[in-house]
Each structure stands twice: as C-alpha cells, then as structure tokens.
C-alpha cells in the first residue's frame, strides 16, 4: 500500500495513450499512489480526505492551479500544494488567495524525481500547516493513537466532567478535546454539539504547546485568533484550556471552557480547571489500560484457541 496519495492535475492528465502525462518518477514510486485530473472541476470532484498532497499545473482548461489551491484550503486546510509548471513565477495571478501558500517546482526537462522528493518532504514534515507544531509532534501523535480516539465518545465519564465544569463556572460550553493530526475531536461537549474542528481553527492546538493551561480572556483582542472566522461563527469570545497529559508526558488534548463573552479566570478557577483536566487525563489512562488488557485477553484467547486447534489436529 502506498504511503502517500497524490492528486496530479494538468491539462490532458489521464488521457489514454499519453501515460496520463504524469512524470515518470511519480508513476514509478512504490510509495506514491497517483490520482489524475485534467481540469479544475475534475480535480475538485476527486479531492477528498484521502489526498495527502496536490500537484497542479498553473493553467487549467477551466481555471488555474491557484483556484484549486483556494478549494483545497477550504476543504482540507493542512493538505500541502505544489505548483508544477514552467510559467514565469512573476506572471502568476495570486488573486483572492494572496495569504495562502503553495510551493513552486519548475517542471523543466527532468523525470519528476525532484518533485517526488519535495512531495515526500512536504507530507512527512507537515510543511504547510497554519499553526505551531510541538517539537515532539510525531511522538505525541503516536501516544494519542494508543488512547483509541475513534471510540472515545462512548465514555460517559467525560460528559459528566464537562457537565460539572459548566455548572461550576457558569459558562456556555465545556468540552474534552483530543488534538489529532489534522483536527480536534470532541469526546465530550456540554452546551453545544461540536464534534470536530479543523486543527487550524482551534485555540487548543496552541494550548498543547503550553505546560499547563492557556487563558484567552478576549479572543477578539488576541492577534493569534482575532481574524479566525470560525471562532466568530462559533461565538467563542473567551477561552480557558488545560492540557491533558499522558503519564509519559505527551500532551494529547485539552479540557476547555469557552464563553460567548470576554471573561477572566481567577487563580482559584484555574486550579479547579486543572483538577478537572487531571481527572479527565486519568480517565483516559484508565480506559487505555482497560482496552489494552481486553485486547491482551482476546489475543491470548485467540492464541490459545489456535494452539488448542493445532493440538487437536496432531
């Protein structure tokens, strides 16, 4: 199975008899699965959550690579994009997306080996994300995977803790969130029904770089978040988040309070929030041990059944 799924977009790409127009190095690479599109509209149709990187020509029959960049940033904002063309960079019209980033690799006469190398770097090093990354991000994500986040929403203990927080602080929303590679998933949420947010739209992705907790008394006055439209849409005007840390020291999520008006948090309130976060982290740890013990039992049972079967055969 390929490590990276790539969307390659160029006029004529995919046409029969031309090898699809895809550079040889991309077609040869065992670690790359290449999907192709010959136009902007086809690229939009093909672009989904499985795509790890987009490589596009500038001029497309029904638009430009910059138009595709705008679509990618709206749909899957962390996905890296590359312009692969020989057009003079100075003539590229960046139009309405002049804050977004796309790499430029000259097509030249090579077989695309350099392009393949840049694509691997972009994906592996998450080079086009729009938020700060912890220095131990890979280890952090590995740790998070051990807590089985796909199934965590069934855990009622987190709902009770979030409920307690809303009652105690009198705020609008309390939640337990796990910060995954591309999104934050809410495993408990009281006061609203959020399920997930793109990571770049969350304050929590900044909180996980803190040692303890982060308070933003007025989101609109904090330059890091003042221009974030999604926070305005969700009516998040103040925020307090405490980190959820594993026994090994990896921060995998946050316990948070948000309100629809600016507010401050006293030392006592911060201490209480810390307590709630510690309790949530302990619940996560207990649950991880339980799940691993169950898996161990099942795996042991399977092994003994297999061995029993073999004995029966002999």
């Amino acid at each position: 199975m390929a490590d990276i799924t790539l969307l390659y977009v160029a006029p004529g790409a995919g046409d029969a008899g031309s090898g699809g127009g895809v550079p040889d190095a991309l077609r040869r690479a065992a670690d790359l699965e290449v999907r192709v599109a010959g136009a902007l509209s086809a690229a939009r149709d093909q672009f989904d959550g499985a795509i790890d990187c987009v490589v596009t020509a500038y001029e497309l029959p029904d638009g430009t690579g910059i138009d595709l960049l705008a679509h990618v940033r709206e749909t899957a904002p962390d996905c890296p994009c590359v312009l692969y063309d020989d057009v003079d960079p100075g003539t590229i019209d960046t139009g309405d997306v002049e804050g977004e980033i796309i790499e430029y690799i000259p097509r030249g006469s090579g077989d695309g080996e350099r392009l393949a190398s840049v694509v691997r770097d972009l994906v592996a090093n998450r080079m086009q994300v729009a938020y700060p990354l912890p220095h131990d991000e890979d280890e952090r994500l590995t740790a998070l995977a051990r807590y089985d986040p796909d199934d965590l929403s069934v855990t009622e203990a987190f709902d009770r803790l979030a409920d307690l927080a809303v009652e105690h602080f009198g705020g609008r929303v309390a939640f337990v969130g796990l910060v995954d590679e591309r999104e934050e998933r809410f495993v408990a949420c009281q006061g609203t029904d959020w399920e997930r947010l793109d990571r770049q739209d969350t304050i929590c992705t900044h909180t996980i770089l803190e040692e303890d907790l982060m308070v933003v008394e007025n989101v609109q006055e904090d330059p890091r978040f003042a221009s974030a439209e999604r926070l305005v849409e969700l009516d998040i005007r103040s925020y307090a988040g405490a980190t959820l840390t594993t026994p090994a020291g990896q921060t995998i999520g946050t316990f948070c309070l948000v309100d629809d008006e600016p507010r401050a948090y006293s030392e006592r309130e911060r201490t209480y929030l810390r307590l709630l976060a510690d309790e949530a982290a302990e619940q996560l740890e207990l649950r991880r041990r339980l799940v691993e013990a169950e898996r161990g039992t099942e795996s042991g049972r399977t092994e003994s059944e297999t061995e029993g079967g073999r004995e029966g055969e002999s």
Partner: protein, 217 residues
C-alpha cells in the same frame, strides 16, 4: 556547517537550522541579520525584504560582505508591480507584503533554481517577520508561510535567519511565532554598544556578548 564572521562570538551552526533574531528594528536588527547571512564563496543566498527595495538590500549586503554575486544570490522585495526586475531573474518583486502566496512562490522557485545550479548550501534571510505579521490578513497565514520556509530550509540543509522586532507586536503573538524556529538570538542596545545572546543552539554562548557593528543600520 554555516560559519559567521569573526567579529561575532558565534560558533558555526548545523545545516537545516532556522534562527530568529529578535531586537529593536532601530538598533541594529538588520545589520546583525545581514552579518549572519554573509555567505561563503560556494554558498547561495535568498533574501526576502518586506520593507526595503532590493537595490538597498544589495547595497547594505555589499557594505558588509563584498560582492553580491547574481549567479548565486537573489532578493525578493515587496511593493512593486509583480515582475522580474533584473536580467538574470534573481531580483524579483511581489506587489505587497500581504501577498504571501507570491512571496512563497518566488522563494521556492529561487531555491529550486539554486538547487538545479548545483548550489546545495543556501542562506535564507527574511527582513522582516514583523512586517509580515503587521500586514497579514490572517495571523495563521504567517504560520503557514514560516512553516514552508523553515521546512524547506530543514530539508535542503540551508540556514534561515529571520528578523523580528518584538516591540511592534503583542507578547503572546511573539512567543507563539518564536516557537516556529529552532533557535533565538536576542539583540539589545546598552550604554556601551550592542549585545546579543543565543537560546536553543548547542555549544553557543548563552550569556550576553557585546559586539562591534560594522556599519550603521
């Protein structure tokens, strides 16, 4: 390794490193940044200038380091019509510091040209991150831009030197942006002159060290 002029008490740093220099813009921030960008004979250079026109950057650079070699050195400035402004294509412009898309395209295309020209050690300077933050429509776009640059510098074994004047920004924003880099050099002015100290680089002096400026700026 990337070395520095002997007037600075700095040990060479490893390829792939990106350093932010923080200090007052009017007290030698540009001067110190350009000194760290002074290239060896076989190194390449790309400077992104948000405030000063390219010819001024080149004049400043030459005042400290001798010749600006167009065969392996390039400048992208902001504020002119987007067009190639030199015959060799190594002096370029984007319309404004808000056009991070254009800056990113010019930066990566120049890096690729140096790479294809066989230059595998490249120093990259940004003068300055402060202006990018001031002009950016969204703060997070600056993150994405800086991640792209530091990521490219890391994977291509380059050296990044980024100038930032903290006094122009909210402390929270500065702390957050500084986390993007591998190391920080703090600059300050004292009664007797100028001093710097290093944070985050192995085998470098962490205490304040004085140095002599080589030219105003």
């Amino acid at each position: 390794m990337y070395g520095f002029d002997s007037g600075l008490d700095l040990q060479p740093v490893s390829p792939g490193t990106s350093v932010v220099i923080t200090g007052p813009a009017m007290s030698g921030l540009t001067e110190l940044t350009l000194r760290l960008l002074a290239c060896g004979d076989r190194e390449g250079l790309i400077v992104l200038s948000t405030d000063d026109p390219a010819d001024e950057v080149i004049a400043n650079y030459e005042r400290r380091d001798g010749r600006f070699d167009h065969g392996r050195m390039a400048v992208v400035d902001c504020g002119k019509a987007r067009e190639t402004t030199s015959e060799d294509g190594n002096v370029r412009s984007v319309t404004s510091p808000t056009d991070l898309t254009g800056l990113g395209i010019q930066f990566t295309s120049l890096y690729e040209e140096l790479y294809r020209g066989g230059i595998d050690a490249v120093r990259v300077g940004v003068l300055s991150v402060s202006s990018l933050l001031l002009y950016a429509k969204e703060f997070r776009n600056v993150y994405r831009f800086l991640h792209t640059m530091t990521g490219r510098i890391r994977s291509a074994d380059g050296l990044g030197v980024f100038a930032l004047d903290p006094s122009s920004h909210d402390d929270r924003a500065v702390q957050s942006i500084v986390q993007t880099f591998d190391a920080r050099i703090e600059l300050r002015e004292t009664d007797g002159g100028r001093e710097f100290r290093v944070r985050g680089l192995a085998e470098q002096p962490e205490d304040w060290r004085s140095y002599e400026p080589v030219a105003p700026g």
